[in-house]
């Protein structure tokens, strides 16, 4: 190859065959593979994160969609509602249902006499439990005076117990013949074999462990302490001595407290919670009354362990006893939690629902959509097609880009200052929420619409103009319809954003306890994400499930909306 530029210039040859070139190309291909792997890894990490998040949410939220009830025969006394008022729904509604359900409970577990036991029993039912019964009576007043079989809603703690927050229960049969001393109250039980030796040993073991732990603490204090801790050390030493004494003397009666697994004896149809025990005799409190004081033969009675110490669970031994009895009788019924979708907010977790929040969200989004779709599209058309290019339109453009990035909480401040304080709109109203959210998502919609309009090739518009259409005709007849899928996608994504927004609504009073379902744009309302925010801050553990459940519903709606956007895009996607 000769070089036309002249002999003076050095010749640079492409070299693709030498070893150096091969090395170079190997390196380049390695870089290629690495680069591709980075991309795949990035997607993988993101997908993993989304997966973990969704899994986490679903795992926590699933239990919120079921609920437990007690199916019971409730005897409705004939004088429950006077005969002449049975046709009056208000009278049926206003009747006192508590005694009726209480009596039904007492009939289900007979023999509970103490006031404390009775209260524990009645508190297993939700305060909203009679709702089903009331509805039944309202539908059919003739049921008054008869016995009705209805499912009565359990309280949140009882519900959680059946959802698995209780305790593992271990049962083993008694070896000797057991003799109880009574049927209720504090009783003792004697057995002919060393039935409780294992329990005594385990209690002593626990005491020994505690003593060992305290000994280490005492040693630490003596090493570092000096004068200031002398008294504390002697206290600990005394405690250790007492513990050791207990461990060493076999005869001493052992005492069970709430910090150790609970031990119970099931005998003669009753249940006794043990408080003191030796190898052959135990004393305890009757949780479920015994039918008699007869001897129980070996194998006919059981020693029961609630493995989680009473102090480490929400439900007491008494409650566990009741609930287990209900379960044995087959009265516990697990069903889909329809209340969650049909009722408004409540301070009782088992009664709380998302209906009012859902309706609030719907009303708010309606206002948002009604405002920001037309305004957003028209503004986008104007800016993209008609606006003269001058300082003012430049300003508008900067503005819109800026508004898209302004923190949402600042829009809350705007709503507070302008709509509430200046225009005197009512607080907590969907109309205000809708206005604020409309301003919030307007930039998103304008930007998306502009992008969609821009993506329509100019040739389409030119063709229309070429046949004599006016600029507006060209835009509204040809460009806008072609851009519509893009605009719809942008709008749906904007609305999904509005649906999940919390921060600005904090400022305009939508963080409120709303029981009644809002019916108008000016009624007090809350929205789904705010409901989540509110529930998350309540102390009851059951609200944690509600929170997760509500999150699932919210995400469900978001997926639906995103899915619609994706579908639209797929269906109308055009490549120019």
């Amino acid at each position: 190859m000769t070089d036309i530029a002249g002999a003076a210039a050095p010749v640079f040859r492409l070299d693709v065959t030498s070893d150096a070139a091969k090395r170079r190309i190997r390196k380049r291909y390695a870089a290629e593979a690495r680069f591709k792997a980075y991309g795949l890894a990035a997607l993988g990490v993101t997908t993993l994160f989304v997966g973990a998040l969704i899994f986490d949410i679903i795992r926590n939220g699933i239990p919120a969609f079921t609920q437990h009830s007690l199916t019971m025969d409730v005897a409705v006394p004939a004088d429950f509602v006077p005969a002449d008022k049975r046709s009056d729904p208000l009278a049926i509604r206003g009747a006192d249902y508590f005694p009726v359900t209480r009596d039904a409970l007492k009939a289900a577990i007979p023999g509970i006499e103490s006031r404390r036991g009775e209260r524990t029993l009645t508190r297993l039912l939700s305060t909203g439990a009679p709702g089903v019964l009331r509805d039944r009576l309202l539908a059919d007043p003739d049921l008054i005076g008869k016995t009705v079989k209805v499912p009565l809603l359990l309280s949140d703690d009882a519900d959680l117990y059946f959802k698995g927050s209780g305790t593992p229960i271990i049962k083993r049969s008694g070896i000797g013949t057991a003799t109880p001393s009574g049927t209720t109250g504090e009783i003792t039980i004697l057995t002919s074999a060393n039935d409780f030796a294992a329990e005594v040993v385990s209690i002593k073991q626990a005491a020994k462990e505690k003593a060992d732990g305290q000994a280490i603490e005492a040693a630490r204090l003596t090493t570092f302490g000096g004068q200031s801790v002398a008294q504390r050390v002697s206290e600990i030493n005394a405690e250790i001595a007492a513990l050791r004494a207990r461990v060493d003397s076999p005869k001493v009666e052992e005492v069970l407290d709430g910090k150790l697994p609970s031990k119970l004896v099931e005998i003669n149809g009753g249940l006794v919670k043990l408080t003191k025990l030796t190898d052959v005799s135990v004393a305890g409190e009757v949780l479920l009354p015994l039918s008699s004081t007869d001897d129980a033969k070996p194998g006919d009675w059981k020693v029961i362990t609630y493995a989680t110490p009473e102090s480490n669970r929400k439900v007491s031994d008494q409650e566990v006893a009741f609930l287990e009895r209900f379960r044995e009788k087959g009265m516990v019924d697990r069903h889909f939690n329809t209340l969650f979708f049909t009722s408004g907010d409540s301070r009782e977790p088992e009664l709380a629902g998302i209906r009012s929040a859902l309706i609030g969200s719907a009303l708010t989004l309606f206002v948002t959509l009604a405002l920001c779709l037309p305004i957003g599209v028209l503004a986008a058309v104007y800016l993209e097609e008609f606006a003269p290019k001058n300082r003012i339109t430049d300003l508008i453009e900067v503005n819109i880009n800026n508004l898209a990035a302004v923190p949402s909480i600042v829009f809350g401040l705007l709503g507070l200052a302008v709509f509430l304080n200046f225009f005197n709109f009512p607080r907590s109203a969907p109309v205000v929420g809708g206005l604020v959210l409309a301003l919030l998502v307007l930039p998103t919609i304008i930007i998306a619409s502009r992008a969609a309009l821009k993506a329509v090739p100019p040739s389409i518009k030119e063709a229309a103009l070429g046949v004599g259409a006016s600029h507006q005709q060209a835009v509204f007849h040809h460009v806008l319809p072609l851009a519509m899928p893009g605009i719809m996608t942008g709008t749906i994504i904007g609305m999904a954003h509005a649906l999940g927004e919390t921060a600005p609504l904090l400022m305009i009073g939508m963080v409120a306890f709303i029981v009644d379902v809002p019916t108008a744009l000016t009624d007090a309302a809350t929205v789904l994400p705010v409901q989540i925010y509110l529930w998350s801050d309540l102390p009851e553990v059951a609200f944690k499930l509600k929170t997760a459940g509500a999150i699932m519903v919210l995400l469900g709606f978001l997926f639906l909306m995103n899915g619609a956007a994706i579908y639209l895009r797929k269906k109308f996607e055009r490549r120019w």
Binding site: M1, T2, D3, I4, A5, A9, P10, F12, R13, L14, D15, V16, A20, A21, R24, I25, R28
Partner: protein
């Protein structure tokens, strides 16, 4: 280089006049875009150090065939190529062959000038850099200068090498793209309607350049302009509906075509 000519056993008769060495040899090349059979059984020999023009009506497959020669069709997922194309006797569709190296040896200039959104200097230096052709900055400067000189652009841009390549005029951009292509000193330069986006003056400059370059490179040019083919090429191939209908000396093709459809096309009766 002549050695390779002897090692190749053409499946058809040698199409080139005796004494001319074939740089690119294609045999029974078929191209499919999905279901569409875009190129049918094309066989041709392209001589070295001369200009060969591909002409034919739109959609006849000439660009497709051009893109086969440096395997640019690989970037289109649905495209499938069968047959055999060799450059200097080497099968370029050999799976063992490295497409990246192939393209370094076969430069390409596109219909629309497509300078990278970088400086003029960087546009030209890019190829030599990725292929490790220069050991030092001064080497690279030298390559850039040479290439720009060869592309007859040096005088116009030597004082503004750091300006963006996109700031040049259309004709200059296209010459920059040519400079970019020859900077890696390829054996072959493919030109896909390089002047279609240019005005007559810029076109004349490019044609002049092509003529200049043909002394050193094997140049294949796809063109719509019969006059251009007549002006710049030594040999011409006429494509129609995916078939290579006629191929030969340009003079002969334009004065006395053997195929009647070629004649019809050349005289402007269709196309």
């Amino acid at each position: 280089m002549d050695m390779s000519q002897q090692t190749l056993m053409p499946e058809k008769a040698v199409l080139l006049p005796v004494g001319t060495s074939a740089k690119v040899v294609a045999r029974n090349v078929n191209v499919y875009y999905g279901e569409k059979h875009a190129l049918k059984d094309v066989s041709i020999d392209v001589p070295d150090k001369s200009v060969t023009a591909f002409i034919g009506p739109s959609g006849c497959g000439k660009s497709t065939f051009l893109r086969c020669i440096n395997r640019m069709n690989d970037t289109i997922p649905i495209c499938r190529v069968t047959g055999k194309i060799t450059i200097d006797g080497q099968d370029i569709y050999d799976p063992a062959l490295d497409v990246v190296q192939l393209r370094a040896r076969v430069g390409m200039v596109f219909q629309k000038p497509n300078p990278f959104p970088k400086s003029i200097y960087e546009n030209v230096a890019y190829g030599p850099r990725i292929h490790g052709m220069a050991r030092s900055k001064s080497d690279l400067d030298q390559i850039v200068e040479n290439s720009l000189k060869k592309a007859s652009l040096w005088e116009e841009v030597k004082n503004r090498l750091q300006d963006s390549g996109t700031a040049l005029s259309g004709g200059q951009q296209q010459r920059l793209c040519i400079a970019r292509a020859i900077a890696v000193s390829p054996d072959i330069i493919l030109m896909d309607e390089p002047c279609s986006a240019l005005d007559p003056i810029a076109t004349a400059k490019i044609e002049e350049l092509i003529d200049e370059l043909s002394r050193n490179f094997c140049i294949i040019i796809v063109t719509h302009s019969m006059q251009q083919a007549a002006r710049v090429s030594k040999r011409t191939a006429f494509f129609h509906l995916g078939l290579l209908l006629e191929e030969g000396e340009t003079n002969q093709m334009f004065t006395n075509p053997t195929n009647e459809r070629t004649q019809a096309y050349i005289t402007g009766r269709f196309g």
